[in-house]
């Protein structure tokens, strides 16, 4: 296998000097055609938007699968989730965390939103920002009283966000279709390159992806978190 791959790689151009390719063309076209400054965003959210659409649904399907797998298992072995914190994670009563926590969460949320909003201008975008947003939610789960939190922001809300973000992507694509263009065509005004509202639908799609990813990753990690918590209840109940 190694020999074969080595043989194949001999056919590749030397590292650092690729032949003329699609990517180079996009580098030249992107700024003028789409008024964006991050070419990766142009590829991901415009030229190859359908790939990203499918990729978002991969995440959605995986999150759905994880929820399905872990949730039913939970249903069969325990009652309602109560707060049970002492063995894992910080104590909710800890003063220091109470004070620092909200600031930390606020900062993370802002950072996430910033990354999502600037996807077409600088590195980052819906996916990266969405993960940061999800980590803010997880942080809240860790810092706050778990049961309170489930009441304030129940998991289904994040599932809804996930579905809405994914549906938003499709709807933007269909809107272009309804307007007489191709599916996922960039029909919004392109604006001035470098400004926040520019590059047409790219930032809109970034937002949809951000919401979807934030919801999806939150669902996945929260399901894993609940696994450890529910289990702890059982162990304690037996003592």
């Amino acid at each position: 296998m190694a020999a074969l791959l080595g043989w194949a790689l001999a056919g590749l151009p030397a590292f650092g000097s690729p032949r003329a390719s699609l990517g180079i063309l996009i580098d030249h076209l992107g700024p003028s055609v789409r008024h964006a400054t991050d070419m990766v965003a142009v590829v991901n959210f415009d030229a190859r938007g359908i790939d990203t659409l499918a990729e978002e649904f991969i995440l959605l399907a995986a999150a759905t699968g994880v929820a399905e797998l872990l949730r039913r298992a939970r249903g069969e072995e325990s009652g309602p989730a109560v707060d049970q914190r002492s063995e894992f994670g910080p104590d909710p009563g800890s003063e220091a965390l109470r004070r620092v926590g909200p600031a930390l969460v606020g900062f993370t949320v802002l950072l996430g939103l910033y990354i999502v909003a600037h996807g077409h201008l600088s590195p980052g975008g819906g996916f990266q920002g969405g993960v940061v947003l999800a980590s803010a939610v997880i942080l809240v789960y860790l810092v706050a009283r778990y049961a309170d939190l489930r009441r304030a922001a129940p998991l289904p809300a994040f599932e809804l966000a996930e579905a809405a973000g994914a549906a938003g992507f499709v709807v933007v694509g269909l809107a272009a279709l309804a307007g007489g263009s191709a599916f996922l065509a960039n029909v919004l005004p392109l604006g001035t390159a470098g400004q926040l509202p520019s590059a047409g639908t790219i930032p809109v799609l970034n937002l949809a992806v951000g919401v979807e990813v934030a919801g999806g990753i939150t669902v996945v990690v929260a399901e894993f978190l609940e696994q450890t918590i529910v289990l702890r209840q059982r162990v304690r109940g037996r003592r």
């Binding site: 296998m1 074969l4 791959l5 043989w7 194949a8 790689l9 001999a10 056919g11 590749l12 151009p13 690729p18 032949r19 003329a20 390719s21 699609l22 990517g23 180079i24 063309l25 996009i26 076209l29 415009d46 030229a47 190859r48 938007g49 359908i50 790939d51 659409l53 499918a54 990729e55 649904f57 991969i58 959605l60 399907a61 995986a62 759905t64 699968g65 929820a67 399905e68 797998l69 039913r72 298992a73 069969e76 599932e159 809804l160 996930e162 579905a163 809405a164 994914a166 549906a167 499709v170 709807v171 694509g173 269909l174 279709l177 263009s181 191709a182 599916f183 996922l184 065509a185 960039n186």
Partner: protein
């Protein structure tokens, strides 16, 4: 510019998102069923009209309006010919049947199952229609992720988890192999569009190691999905344990889609790339196809678990279809397409009829446990027997027509091999179904010994509490019968045969196709006619159906499984290979890929 293809994918995806959102509200089950079923019906309508439209010439649509500039593809396109549209329509038809089937099954299914099934449908449609290599990979992964989640759907038992794990690990390795091949091709050519890849590689007349290795790794990755030996091990583990309506999809479309993608990539990219040396890929693929037919048929015959039998028959028939593709001739490809259509419909029907049985008898799937139990279920019994005969190649089912076309694509030693393998595979897998039908619905053959009969043999991980021991509702019988009817209609309808032949002939002209896709230059579809099956084909078809009946009778007559020691040793050997150990299976994938690449490399010298 056609809207149909993108609209079909978008409809299914939106439906999935809606089902997922709805599930949060815990609506009555009927709301979800109605939503999902109507979505699938709309997709079926869209793909069918696409099939009709593509009959007049390939339908191209570029996403985001990124049209090619000066003959260079910038964006992603759906390049739809009747083969792709037919695959998409098959996927939609089977999904619709499965969704109707679950109205009265899988009680604990809530929106998540519906959402997963609709995303699965969208992925299959996208995979069938796309004209871009990386887009194909993404839809492929989307399809896989849904499939893993669907396999593990019943987590109460050990089996589904084990099956899902093996399925996910082997297919993920396969996906990496595909992606490695894609990276190699992009590094070499700087493009991802299928027709442009073919043209760019075609301009360099000396195919090199890179092309061969890229082919080997992409083919291996796709053959894992198709369940072709030696990459097939996961099939039995996954299709035994997934919910039965989902199995109908796995066997009827998922595995065939692997072969479809392989055929598409081979004809569009690698045949132009290899030029006159293309014949080097024929014999390795023929060998793998034959091995699958043999292993799949034997294992199918030896199983007692109804779903495991059908799973191994997937392996056998995937091998058969691969034979048609491997001949590298338009007639063979057209035959493979028709065969695939007929096989997919029949197989979906058979899996659903097993599902109906399990529904009636509280989830029992063992041949011995069900012996004679189905005497009251005449309708289901007749449909199962018809499905078995169709699988065996009885005219006028489409599988019969496809097989006769595949035979016409071969000559010389390849013809002998292909014809023999086709007869073996269809007779043995068909006979297994007939044997089961005779035992379950007529109570013929060896009577089971007491304990098994009373309580059913629920070996852990094999049986499944899917049913609730009720009568078989009409919503289950209609999909079973409907799919069979469709398979028969597809066999009789002349447009299916001629359409497949025309489509295959168009695929065989990559240069004209590339000009159409990249430059918008209209292509004239070459005239190719395939004669209707003649008397010899009919004799062969009726003969193999009769042989299947005879073999089934012989299987019933054998009072106990007394076999020669050699055959028992063979059986135990084959069984121990299917160990359920993910590490073993991955080893087979690595060895198989290396062997394929090595043989091709030697052929190139």
């Amino acid at each position: 510019m056609s809207l149909l293809g993108p609209l079909a994918v978008a409809t299914a995806l939106l439906g999935a998102a809606a089902a997922l959102s709805l599930s949060v509200l815990r609506p009555p089950r009927i709301v979800l069923d109605a939503l999902a079923t109507s979505c699938a019906a709309v997709v079926l309508g869209l793909t069918t009209s696409l099939l009709v439209a593509s009959g007049r010439g390939p339908v191209i649509s570029w996403f985001g309006g990124w049209l090619p500039r000066r003959g260079i593809a910038l964006g992603v396109d759906f390049a739809v010919d009747p083969l792709g549209a037919g695959m998409a329509a098959l996927a939609a038809a089977l999904t619709l049947a499965a969704l109707v089937f679950i109205w009265r099954a899988l009680d604990h299914a809530h929106g998540l199952l519906h959402a997963l099934l609709l995303v699965f449908l969208a992925a299959m449609v996208g995979l069938a229609l796309t004209g871009d290599l990386f887009d194909l990979f993404v839809f492929f992964e989307l399809m896989s992720v849904c499939a893993y989640a669907l396999t593990a759907f019943r987590i109460e038992d050990q089996g589904p988890l084990q099956g899902a794990l093996v399925f996910a690990v082997t297919n993920t390795v396969g996906a990496f192999l595909v992606l490695t091949g894609i990276a190699l091709l992009y590094g070499r050519t700087g493009t991802l569009n299928l027709v442009q890849l073919g043209m760019t590689l075609h301009r360099h007349p000396h195919p090199e190691g890179l092309v061969v290795v890229a082919f080997a790794s992409i083919a291996a990755g796709l053959l894992v999905k198709a369940g072709v030996a030696p990459f097939h091990f996961w099939v039995a583990d996954a299709e035994t344990v997934a919910p039965t309506p989902v199995c109908a999809l796995f066997s009827g479309v998922l595995a065939p889609l692997g072969l479809y993608a392989l055929a598409r990539i081979t004809w569009t990219v690698f045949l132009p790339a290899l030029g006159p040396r293309a014949s080097i890929i024929t014999w390795p693929l023929l060998a793998m196809g034959t091995a699958s037919v043999v292993i799949g048929s034997l294992m199918c015959w030896w199983q007692r678990n109804l779903k495991r039998q059908l799973a191994f028959s997937t392996v056998a028939h995937s091998g058969l279809i691969l034979l048609g593709v491997a001949l590298l001739r338009p007639v063979g490809l057209a035959g493979a397409a028709v065969y695939l259509l007929g096989y997919g419909l029949i197989k979906g029907s058979l899996f659903l009829s097993v599902g109906a049985l399990m529904h009636r008898f509280g989830g029992r799937v063992d041949e011995d446990a069900l012996c004679g139990q189905g005497r009251g279920l005449r309708g289901l019994g007749v449909l199962t027997a018809l499905g078995g005969l169709g699988l065996a190649g009885l005219p006028p089912f489409a599988a019969f027509v496809g097989k006769s076309m595949i035979d016409r694509g071969a000559n010389g030693p390849a013809l002998v091999l292909v014809a023999a393998a086709a007869v073996l595979g269809s007779v043995v897998t068909g006979a297994t179904v007939l044997r089961v039908a005779a035992r379950v619905y007529l109570g013929l053959g060896r009577q089971p010994t007491g304990a098994v009969h009373r309580h059913g043999s629920r070996r852990p991980g094999e049986a499944e509490p899917e049913g609730r021991s009720g009568p078989v509702p009409l919503t289950m019988l209609v999909p079973v019968g409907g799919l069979l009817l469709a398979a028969a209609v597809a066999g009789v309808a002349a447009p299916v045969r001629s359409g497949a032949a025309r489509a295959a002939a168009a695929v065989a002209q990559p240069v004209a196709m590339a000009q159409l896709v990249l430059d918008g230059r209209p292509m004239t579809a070459p005239a190719i006619t395939v004669a209707a099956p003649d008397a010899a084909d009919w004799v062969l078809g009726l003969g193999s159906a009769a042989a299947a009946v005879a073999l089934a009778g012989a299987g019933l007559a054998a009072a106990a499984p007394t076999r020669a020691r050699g055959s028992r040793r063979l059986r135990n050997g084959l069984r121990s290979l299917h160990s359920g150990h993910p590490g073993d299976y991955v080893t087979w994938i690595v060895v198989g890929t290396a062997a394929l690449g090595g043989v091709l490399g030697l052929g190139l010298r």
